[in-house]
């Protein structure tokens, strides 16, 4: 159709001749597309941010729990089980015992509750936390149940007013037993994220101690109902999970008993992402309805335009315009209106998303940036194009089918 360009030109001519009306017609589409784009990119940005933060806090982690049945049968996970997991499953980088409790301590700064996490020397592998002073305790510390501990710089400041605390002692009281732990390392606590909070006032002070050192308070220090396995981040953690269960079942002769339950970090992330996707999708759908309303607006204005221009259509037909030519001209007009509206809507939507993220970042202390993707923008453009053509067809047909003499007679 070599004449196509001519019809597009006619359409543009007419849009320009009615600038105000054309803009109002587009407004519906602009608002619709802008809100969809804005919601989708804020949603995507939030999801990205969440994934990133949670990922740095816990990627590759697999939680292993003993079921009630196992505990009733007196089966717990032991340090030997943990060694077996390390030795027998390729890709397991570390295993952390889930032991610990909260006691109290008193310093010159006041009374604090203090939460002790029984750990092994592999604990640093579980997070991206950096050591700021001293060092993490080593295998020998664990072996010999030395009473040493690692504390974060923030908590050190809460206890002592300074983070230069390597070599100092913390007296911890629990079960009416008081022991002191020597600080060997200070970690740099990560900044609080939007979704992951590391500390706030009133939370207990956290310290890591060799899990073996907990025996002096409590005999059950080497029986765990809960451990965390760290798998190679590149590996499929559900495959590793299966192997963990297999190894534990073999060691406890509990195959088929459902003694050990695992939940991998991947599972949790998948659930979270599905949820976020559903929420974003639903809000986008609601915003999409406004797009539909915008489309109906385009149809309405095009119908008015056809009525107004009946005589013009008659003249064109009497000069030899075919039904298809008139149709093309009017369709081009509604398509241009919606595509242009869609384009403006995309720009406004992205600008709006940036605005929202900036406001949330500064007022809520969040760290958000909008996430948008080429498929999203392309999808929106195609959709607005489809809206224009779909809602343009009826008015265009109405225009094109007029008989020339009938159309000429109307004023």
């Amino acid at each position: 159709m070599s004449n196509f360009i001519e019809y597009v030109k006619m359409a543009i001519h007419n849009i320009m001749a009615n600038k105000g009306r054309s803009f109002l017609t587009m407004l519906g589409i602009i608002i619709g597309i802008a809100s969809v784009i804005m919601i989708m990119s804020v949603g995507q940005g939030t999801t990205n941010q969440m994934n990133e933060e949670i990922d740095s806090a816990g990627a590759g982690q697999i939680q292993v729990m003993c079921s009630n049945d196992a505990m009733n049968a007196g089966e717990y996970i032991t340090p030997e089980d943990m060694d077996a997991l390390m030795d027998q499953i390729p890709g397991v980088e570390a295993v952390a015992p889930g032991s610990g409790w909260t006691g109290t301590t008193a310093t010159g700064k006041g009374d604090f509750s203090i939460s002790l996490t029984g750990a092994t020397e592999t604990q640093p592998l579980f997070s991206t936390t950096q050591i700021k002073r001293g060092h993490y305790f080593n295998a020998q510390d664990v072996e010999e149940a030395r009473k040493v501990c690692v504390i974060s710089d923030k908590d050190a400041k809460r206890l002592f007013g300074s983070d230069d605390v390597v070599g100092m002692d913390i007296d911890v009281e629990y079960n009416n037993i008081s022991k002191s732990f020597t600080i060997v390392g200070v970690t740099q606590q990560p900044e609080n994220g939007t979704f992951v909070t590391y500390t706030y006032e009133g939370m207990p002070v956290y310290i890591d101690v060799p899990y073996t050192a907990l025996q002096e308070y409590d005999d059950s220090y080497n029986e765990f109902y809960y451990i965390v396995v760290l798998a190679d981040r590149e590996m499929d953690s559900s495959a590793v999970s299966d192997q963990v269960v297999k190894v534990l079942d073999a060691r406890h002769q509990s195959a088929g008993e459902d003694y050990f339950q695992v939940q991998s970090f991947q599972d949790i992330m998948a659930t979270l992402n599905t949820m976020m996707g559903a929420i974003t999708g639903f809000i986008s759908f609601v915003a999409g309805i406004s797009l539909l309303v915008g489309g109906i607006g385009v149809m309405n204005i095009m119908l008015v335009s056809v009525t107004e221009r009946t005589r013009e259509i008659g003249i064109r037909k009497s000069l030899g315009a075919k039904t298809s030519s008139i149709m093309a001209q009017f369709l081009a007009e509604s398509a241009i209106l919606t595509v242009l509206g869609g384009f403006i809507g995309i720009l406004l939507g992205l600008a709006g998303a940036y605005g929202i993220c900036t406001i949330l970042s500064s007022s809520q202390g969040m760290d958000l940036s909008p996430g948008f993707s080429i498929p999203m923008v392309l999808g929106a453009t195609l959709f607005s194009c489809a809206v224009g053509i779909f809602f343009g067809i009826y008015p265009a047909r109405k225009a094109a089918r007029l008989s020339p003499i009938e159309a000429l007679r109307r004023n």
Partner: protein
């Protein structure tokens, strides 16, 4: 030779039933290629109605119309569009210009629907406007022109593509005698080029310039004579 236009027993009844108007009443008319024909009659006698039929804009209530040997009643919408575009240059009594297009754009319209490329189109349209003496008004919109100027744009539009048949409904109705003369001169030139000209008028002086004069009265052909003085 096959006649260009062959009309047999054509009737047109407006508002059938109540308020019937028999605008055309059993018209029989044959026009050969290359004729210069004037149709003359009083106001309301049915001239424009007949012109609409000949121009394939309207369909008769009864009777037959063969154009170039083909039955117009049997043609579909697209075929009619092509005929209106390629065969016929229509000069409407009411001009029928598109108000938001300039004179030049109005003249270009039928050329666009013919699929003529932009450059050729411009040249043809400009030449045609020049022929009717409107080279200084090409970028004006109809509302910025006098009645006579608008009429000349309508004429330029009809002749721009040099169609074989020109149907002119009162083309000099709004023009002074000097301009009328020029327009008639253009039509005569086109006739000399071999085009068929059908000219409607209620002015005997203008009709006298045509080779054949058909007089209609109340939708009927009253007389159909060859002009002995035709030069």
């Amino acid at each position: 030779m096959e006649p260009l236009i062959q009309v047999r027993d054509m009737c047109k009844v407006y508002n059938p039933g109540e308020n019937e108007v028999h605008a055309l009443d059993h018209i029989n008319l044959t026009v050969q290629k290359g004729e210069f024909l004037a149709i003359i009659g009083q106001s309301g006698s049915g001239k424009s109605t007949l012109m609409n039929m000949l121009g394939c804009l309207d369909v008769p209530t009864s009777g037959e119309y063969h154009l170039n040997g083909s039955d117009v009643a049997a043609m579909n919408d697209n075929e009619l569009s092509v005929i209106r575009n390629k065969e016929i240059g229509f000069i409407f009594q009411g001009f029928n210009l598109i108000p938001n297009l300039t004179a030049l754009e109005n003249v270009e319209l039928p050329l666009i629907y013919r699929g003529i490329d932009r450059k050729t189109r411009k040249t043809l349209a400009v030449n045609s406007l020049r022929m009717v003496g409107l080279e200084k008004r090409m970028t004006h919109k109809p509302s910025e022109m006098s009645g006579g100027q608008q009429q000349r744009v309508a004429i330029a539009r009809a002749i721009a593509a040099k169609p074989p048949v020109i149907l002119a409904d009162e083309p000099t109705g709004n023009l002074d005698s000097a301009s009328s003369k020029e327009i008639l001169q253009i039509l005569k030139e086109m006739h000399r080029d071999g085009k068929t000209i059908i000219l409607i008028t209620h002015d005997d002086g203008i009709a006298a310039q045509a080779r054949r004069v058909v007089r209609i009265l109340d939708g009927r052909i009253e007389s159909d004579v060859i002009n002995p003085n035709f030069s």
